[in-house]
Symmetry: C2
Subunit: 323 residues, 2 copies
């Protein structure tokens, strides 16, 4: 669940009095998002999301995240817009935590990805990259290539879901780091654009249309094509982990129609996909090795990303992705 | 969290096509409620709650719960109203589970109960009892007195949070069952009217006003005054578990102003309060004894209700509750 901090009604009312967003109508915890406490907030002026930033978010980084959303929304991207209080500040404090109210986005995230979602997703990703292009702040990717070897080191000596997995990841990581491209276009990337972060709308029977992107709390400044690689991993594998090249073609085609990929970016796709796969395999393996065996929480299976990694290792070139 | 079942967008759209409640705008999991999967559903006609009934709810009992809400709402109680599909049915199926859509209630539940909440709560409880008075269905209280000894038996031989606790509960239960009243007024009771099931609204600075009652999935046919005793336990103890007689006086005064308690009900309050305290102590103890020690879920502390029970055991008569 995603409510770690309870807010008393007195504290909530005092907090809301700093805003000009109308009178409180309802306030419910939201079960989505795993890092922060999120509440659906309804006032007589409309719907909002109130987020309390929990300990896994560095408060020093919040101006980057909120500023990025503000910047992209001003350039027409549909994403949550931080709402400013009467004093002009969007980042405030509630229940002893940093807190912000953002606008509510309509739409539904796809529980089962179809090919028809992948084109609109690719287009929306390119639109995000374009909207953020002139955002002046920088944030390093703390879960980027420089972080992968230390993360793998922290998984050594612990439980392995499959014997020999750490050794397999050692070998794959050495190859990824030696092949990693250094001169590709940089920009602000989402870095976690999984299906639950993309809302769609669609008239009855009509094709799905992206209504907005959410959860920019992994956003950072990194290779734009790496964001494409994250999406290829997150959107283009079937539940049985077979790669669906039709989805990849739809995603890449729509992305390239709005933001053309350079030849160097295209050539780098296989290693970028390997990197994206090992990034999610490593964080899942770390959580897996650090969650008690009897715990009732669902541990996400690292093998789902190890199997994606093996697909990318076998890819002989960008043509594996339909290019 | 309270989303156990994911619903694909195709299944959701097909489900919604059975209703005349407008086009889907948004669909988010709600973090509240522990027994079922709850979603906030927004259409262009308004806000709704979609509930998927999980395995702890007996499908045979759903017509009682939904019928009770429908009945009380028709008599003016503010509670979720089951929305009927085009065919007149409110109880349907989604994702292989029984499912229903209810109206959305405005309001915020009090994270910290103040005296000013307790009068409106007492009045709302009496209003619920009145609104349900002529509801024709019956449902036995599966967590009532007849269930307590078997529940305690299932806690024997397991871990005890405090040594000797089971023996203490054995002695208390024997007294409760021998003193249990048999001839008090019966009716439909909520049986779980904790603060998170009561929504309040209040203009800035004004007193809190109940905007609605929710979660009738423990409702049953039992002693009306037992519902009062549940509320005395749930609303009138401070965080340090001291009994707050001012809160009790406010709760009872407002309840009695709408529905007078008989002399027999007043005389029975201490044993009813002991019964309500042992009911929650027992279900918590059972969960406590049956949750792995290393689990990451929060086990509710049975001692919070054992300590309430001790207060009620020391009560010499109804005057302990401000009467």
């Amino acid at each position: 669940m995603a409510v770690y901090t309870e807010v008393t009604d007195e504290a909530l009312r005092a907090f809301l009095s700093e805003y000009a967003i109308g009178a409180l109508v309802a306030f419910r915890g939201i079960a989505e998002g795993v890092e922060n406490s999120n509440y659906a907030l309804k006032t007589d002026a409309g719907d909002f999301i109130l987020t309390l930033y929990e300990r896994r978010v560095d408060p020093e980084e919040l101006p980057y995240f909120l500023g990025l959303m503000d910047h992209m929304a001003a350039r027409g991207l549909s994403c949550p817009v931080p709402v400013k209080g009467r004093d002009g500040r969007a980042l405030r404090e509630l229940a002893e935590r940093p807190a912000a109210i953002c606008t509510f986005l309509p739409g539904v995230w796809p529980r089962r990805v179809r090919v028809e979602h992948c084109g609109p997703l690719g287009d929306a990703l390119a639109a995000m990259h374009d909207a953020a292009a002139d955002f002046p702040m920088r944030r390093p990717n703390t879960l980027g290539p420089a972080g992968w070897a230390p993360l793998l080191d922290r998984c050594r000596g612990g439980a392995e879901p499959v014997p020999g997995l750490v050794a397999e990841l050692d070998a794959a990581l050495a190859g990824i780091l030696s092949d990693w491209p250094s001169a590709l276009p940089l920009g602000q990337i989402h870095a976690d654009l999984f299906p639950d972060n993309v809302f769609f709308m669609g008239a009855n029977g009509g094709p799905p249309v992206v209504s907005g992107l959410i959860d920019f709390y992994f956003a950072c400044t990194d290779l734009l094509a790496y964001d494409v690689a994250v999406c290829l991993n997150a959107w283009c594998f079937e539940p049985d982990l077979a790669f669906n090249v039709t989805k990849a073609r739809a995603l890449l085609g729509a992305y390239r129609a709005r933001r053309p990929l350079t030849q160097a970016e295209i050539a780098a796709l296989p290693v970028l996909c390997r990197g994206a796969a090992i990034r999610f395999a490593l964080t899942r393996l770390f959580d897996w090795a650090n969650t008690p065996a009897g715990a009732l929480v669902t541990r996400k299976d690292p093998m789902e990303y190890v199997r994606r990694l093996r697909f990318h290792l076998a890819a002989t070139g960008p043509e594996a992705y339909g290019i």
